[in-house]
């Protein structure tokens, strides 16, 4: 954690203001590498002391808000949890670009409209059964555990913007929204898994996934959208039976897990 071993390193940032620039260009900055510094720290240092025009989103700075997803040395990730030194050691410098496949608003800020539209499309909210208990629905620790892969998703968009299918077809629901759909489909409290499975197995859904696994590589939370998509595919093939099983399960949602 000491501030010794200081050295100056090069940070290249893709700049683009559509109001002023014909096309994006790269701009180089020098920052002093302090031990423990993240890529977000470097961006912040550049913005506050060298060039206030450099524009990016950020908030929590500890990988929970999902604001600062960007492309760092060719990989989509969160700037706040990427150690600057690692990137320098590996690549000699840091090159930062906005998330690919999305319109650029300014510099590293992208327009996520399609990303949020797809999120809405899968109806991210729970569709509860009619019979609501006085206290909580009973869920086993195992049933909860099965959702962990999806419930910790921070909707940063790193997966979406690394997905080759999205690159070609913005109508694809996308790994983030499919992961959300997976979470609802698997939740024993959700009363509409068949309807959800019908939606996600349509023309823009799970069969579009080419299992290239880019989303897994990109996910800064270590989640596995591909596996969720695989699960949805399997369940979609027997969705009436799955719905039937869900109705059975929901008869006991108000009872202690044995």
């Amino acid at each position: 954690m000491a501030n010794n071993n200081r050295r100056t390193v090069t940070v290249r940032i893709q700049r683009f203001n559509p109001d002023a620039d014909a096309k994006p260009h790269m701009q180089e900055y020098q920052v002093e590498l302090v031990q423990g510094m993240t890529v977000l720290d470097a961006l912040h240092e550049i913005k506050t002391h060298q060039d206030g025009g450099v524009t990016f989103r950020r908030s929590c700075r500890h990988a929970i808000c999902g604001s600062c997803a960007m492309n760092i040395n060719g990989r989509n990730t969160l700037a706040c949890k990427t150690p600057l030194k690692n990137e320098i050691d590996k690549h000699g410098r840091v090159t930062i670009r906005p998330l690919p496949y999305l319109p650029i608003i300014k510099d590293l800020v992208v327009d996520r409209t399609t990303f949020w539209e797809e999120y809405l499309r899968v109806k991210p909210w729970l569709i509860p059964p009619d019979d609501i208990p006085e206290k909580e629905f009973r869920m086993s620790p195992e049933e909860v555990h099965a959702l962990n892969n999806a419930e910790t998703c921070i909707m940063c968009g790193a997966c979406y913007s690394s997905c080759a299918v999205i690159g070609l077809n913005k109508k694809y629901i996308g790994p983030h929204a499919l992961l959300k759909a997976f979470m609802r489909v698997l939740d024993p409290r959700d009363a509409a898994p068949a309807e959800r499975l019908a939606e996600v197995s349509g023309a823009d859904g799970v069969y579009r996934c080419h299992t290239i696994f880019n989303c897994i590589d990109a996910c800064p939370k270590g989640l596995n959208p591909t596996q969720a998509i695989e699960t949805l595919r399997k369940l979609a093939q027997k969705r009436q039976k799955y719905e039937q099983a869900r109705r059975e399960r929901q008869k006991h949602l108000n009872e202690p897990i044995p």
């Binding site: 109001d19 913005k47 908030s59 629905f137 419930e151």
Partner: protein, 598 residues
């Protein structure tokens, strides 16, 4: 732009964390059709999502295993067996935690509504951790005398935030993402609307509404080491104060005992709730000296002071001696992986330390703002000690001061407060609208006034960097208005803040463009920091006692005779805070003030 071409809504809510989203969802559910939420971030980026350890409610799902003592294992309470917890006990713990500055009528509402709110979250699809028989899992937390922190691993705030946002969407709430509110229009004690920048275009708009609610979060960014997000710049308190609303108890700022060394990032209190130790450089569990009963699970103000004392007396760790060890190793891999997975990842990513193998260096970090915009128990903002309402103006969550936390908040009570009082504000707003609330006219052209102010900032050729001013402010607030305060330090802080306010007049915004100008936003945010910091310091300087998080070394005792009262600060005609005071609501027969020992 004139009045007539302003954007209008029935209800405008500023801030999309738990409090704002609850209010929006409830108002919409109650039949208010035109509810809009403005947030300077996308709603899912709100800082509620960063809360980790839990949300309090006396659900009575678990109890300590008999005969294992206060730190022993927990088990689910078998069906039909005696409860160990109650709202009454939760109420007492909260009052004691608040060092008797919390209003007891509000606290009673908090603990009673708590149970229903948690079940509602669960029914809306929130994914909680579970007991073996399928109930919501609970853990211990500091200052709570029963295990009542309901949790989802250590990402509780995250799942609550996503759940409530989904519900607001389901109910047709309109979200304005990345709109920055810079002014609230209040005339004749009636709210009229807000002025906001559409960050994308840089355009400034007047938005008129029958009701305006602030749910903009806290003000921890005024300090150097903080767990708060970049966004937590106290915009709401500063804007309300500038518009003539009072602020209450601003001097009470909570320092959380376990911020990651140098980063300030939160290592959840759940670390200690699950049994983690705090050690000084001699490997001593020093809390034995300060809170022999509760040890590491004493309330946050006490633990942070104890840590600071160890550090100040030379028993800190790391090269500069400014840290303490948080030791989780004895919990074992399995428990850490199941209960504290996010904390482990944060320690690895940001400190290069795996808590399974090594202790984690931590230090106190500015975490929570107990003070804020005073409201009644339904989120209605009040203008004075008598409770005169500012008609149509509501606030809830960290920006508000109801006050349930008084001089020190207990862990897991903030997610609860944002939810309970956000929900109540939602009902109150719906009622207000349904009872025929009107759109009131706006005098003059406030959008143009704000546009001119922005233009002046953009045109300012000054030599000062905004960031330098912000950093100097944080340095003086931390050194002189931090965990330990005294008259001399506070006077220095006040002098510094005022000098920095002057220097800010020569601050230069580097980015002159309209589109997505976050450099300009940082300048506006820094202006807000400077505004409310003066109120914090003034309140702290006047309050010649120690209570909760406000610890004065020159007045080390709580002084109920003179200071069992809330501070109200209002912007005076000279632009300086004018202080007055407001009684604390105390149920003298039930919870009279007593000595606060743990």
């Amino acid at each position: 732009m004139t009045n007539s071409d302003a954007i209008t809504h029935d209800v405008i809510i500023v801030g999309a964390g738990l409090a704002g989203s609850w209010a929006a969802m409830i108002a919409a559910e109650q039949g208010v059709r035109d509810v809009a939420v403005l947030s300077k971030l996308h709603p899912l980026r709100s800082h509620s999502g960063a809360a980790q350890g839990g949300i309090a409610a006396a659900l009575n799902n678990v109890r300590p295993v008999a005969g294992t003592g206060p730190r022993g294992p927990l088990e689910q309470i078998p069906e039909g067996e005696e409860p160990v917890d109650s709202p009454e006990l939760h109420m007492f713990d909260t009052i004691k935690g608040s060092d008797w500055l919390g209003d007891q009528d509000a606290i009673e509402i908090l603990v009673n509504d708590a149970i229903d709110v948690i079940y509602q979250y669960e029914h809306m699809g929130c994914v909680f951790s579970r007991t073996p028989d399928g109930r919501i899992a609970q853990r211990r937390f500091g200052g709570h005398s029963a295990p009542r922190a309901n949790f989802a691993a250590d990402w509780t705030g995250h799942v609550l935030l996503h759940t409530i946002h989904e519900q607001a969407l389901k109910h047709g709430v309109k979200f304005y993402s990345e709109w920055y509110v810079m002014d609230v229009i209040i005339e004749d004690n009636i709210v009229r609307g807000v002025v906001a920048i559409n960050i994308l275009t840089g355009e400034v708009h007047l938005l008129r509404a029958k009701a305006v609610m602030f749910a903009t979060g806290g003000y921890g960014r005024a300090f150097k080491i903080t767990s708060n997000a970049f966004a937590n710049t106290g915009d709401g308190v500063a804007i309300a104060y500038d518009a003539g609303a009072p602020l209450m108890d601003m001097e009470f700022v909570q320092f959380h005992p376990t911020g990651l060394y140098r980063h300030g990032i939160l290592m959840s209190e759940a670390c200690r709730g699950e049994g983690g130790y705090l050690l000084n450089k001699d490997g001593e569990r020093f809390m034995e000296k300060y809170a022999p009963d509760k040890m590491e699970l004493a309330p946050r103000d006490l633990v942070s002071r104890s840590e600071q004392r160890e550090i100040d007396e030379g028993r800190g760790v790391m090269e500069d001696g400014q840290a303490i060890w948080l030791d989780l190793r004895h919990l074992g891999r399995e428990k850490i992986m199941e209960r504290l997975p996010q904390v482990r990842e944060l320690a690895i990513d940001f400190a290069g330390v795996d808590p399974i193998e090594e202790p984690v260096p931590i230090q106190p970090t500015a975490h929570y703002s107990m003070g804020g915009i005073p409201t009644d128990n339904n989120g209605q903002v009040i203008a004075d000690a008598q409770g005169t309402p500012i008609v149509g103006f509501y606030a809830a969550g960290e920006v508000a001061c109801v006050s349930v936390h008084g001089a020190n908040r207990l862990g897991t009570n903030s997610l609860l407060e944002a939810s309970v009082f956000g929900r109540r504000a939602g009902y109150a707003i719906a009622e207000f609208i349904k009872n025929g609330a009107k759109l009131h006219p706006v005098t003059g052209d406030p959008a143009e006034r704000n546009r001119r102010m922005i233009q002046e900032m953009l045109d300012n050729p000054g030599k000062e960097l905004v960031e330098d001013i912000a950093q100097e402010l944080k340095a003086t607030m931390t050194a002189n208005c931090g965990i330990f305060r005294d008259d001399e330090k506070l006077k220095r802080a006040l002098k510094d803040v005022r000098e920095l306010q002057e220097r800010f007049k020569h601050a230069r915004v580097m980015d002159k463009s309209r589109r997505f100008n976050t450099d300009l936003l940082a300048a506006l945010e820094t202006k807000h920091l400077l505004t409310f910091s003066e109120v914090i310091v003034t309140g702290a300087l006047n309050r010649t006692e120690s209570r909760g998080a406000h610890a004065r070394t020159d007045y080390p005792k709580r002084d109920d005779e003179n200071w069992l009262k809330h501070t109200l600060a209002r912007k005076g005609e000279d632009g300086r805070p004018e202080l007055s005071y407001k009684d604390v609501t105390i149920f003298w027969d039930r919870f009279p003030p007593q000595e606060r020992k743990y």
